[in-house]
């Protein structure tokens, strides 16, 4: 399950999707909107995607994870549009027979998303807004 949606992401749906009788471990990662970034008071994040290609890239990295680790199922859903403080912008769920594979594939997925999936985040903060990553000399935020 690799999707880009406008609605709130349903964690339960992803976990149910990856649940598998031969899996002993499920690792999940939830990215949420934080109320501060580099000293700014953040009001919300506003995500935009090239949706067809973003879903394709999510599926591609899922396939790559399946080649690299012994995992059963993976689901990644990224939300676009405004995402308020504490709300999830992305959820990843991975099941595997053993926990090491689940953790590693989950970590891999979020790192890759931040490198290659055509999704962009505009930070709306007190006093302005900025497309993250576009300012000269600005690092991508760690999350």
């Amino acid at each position: 399950m690799f999707r880009v949606i406008r609605e709130p992401i349903d964690l339960k749906e992803l976990v149910t999707y990856v649940t598998d009788p031969s899996a002993g471990a499920i690792a999940t990662f939830i990215g949420t909107t934080r109320n501060n970034n580099e000293g700014r008071r953040v009001i919300a994040l506003d995500y935009e995607a090239y949706p067809e290609m973003a879903e394709k890239e999510l599926a591609r990295l899922g396939a790559e994870a399946k080649q690299r680790w012994n995992i059963q199922r993976m689901a990644i859903v990224h939300r676009i549009g405004p995402v308020q403080i504490t709300e999830p912008s992305v959820i990843i769920a991975v099941s595997a027979a053993h926990r090491d594979d689940a953790f590693q594939a989950c970590r891999f997925a979020i790192e890759e998303i931040k490198k290659s999936v055509p999704i962009w985040k505009k930070e709306v903060f007190e006093g302005g807004e900025v497309w993250i990553g576009t300012q000269s000399g600005q690092r991508l935020p760690r999350r």
Partner: protein, 81 residues
């Protein structure tokens, strides 16, 4: 020949629209197209950030030779997650 160009995020705001159709010369590369667009849209001229190029939903190199009806996207630094 004609290609479709989509703009997202930072570039969409600079250009003022999300999609255009552009007439280009046969044999134009993606890099050529970007150079032309910088002239068409003065607000793109100062854009210095590292862009990735996607044609028909796949990343390509700047020397990729465009074909009729290609869908081209100039990808500003991604920041999903």
């Amino acid at each position: 020949m004609k290609v479709k160009v989509k703009f997202f995020a930072f570039l969409r705001e600079r250009v003022g629209t999300g999609e255009i159709t552009k007439e280009i010369n046969e044999g134009s590369t993606v890099a050529d197209l970007w150079a032309t667009l910088k002239k068409d849209y003065p607000k793109l001229a100062p854009v210095e950030m590292r862009l990735l190029y996607a044609v028909n939903r796949n990343y390509v190199n700047p020397d990729y030779a465009l074909k009729e009806s290609d869908e081209v996207v100039f990808v500003p630094p991604v920041s999903g997650g």
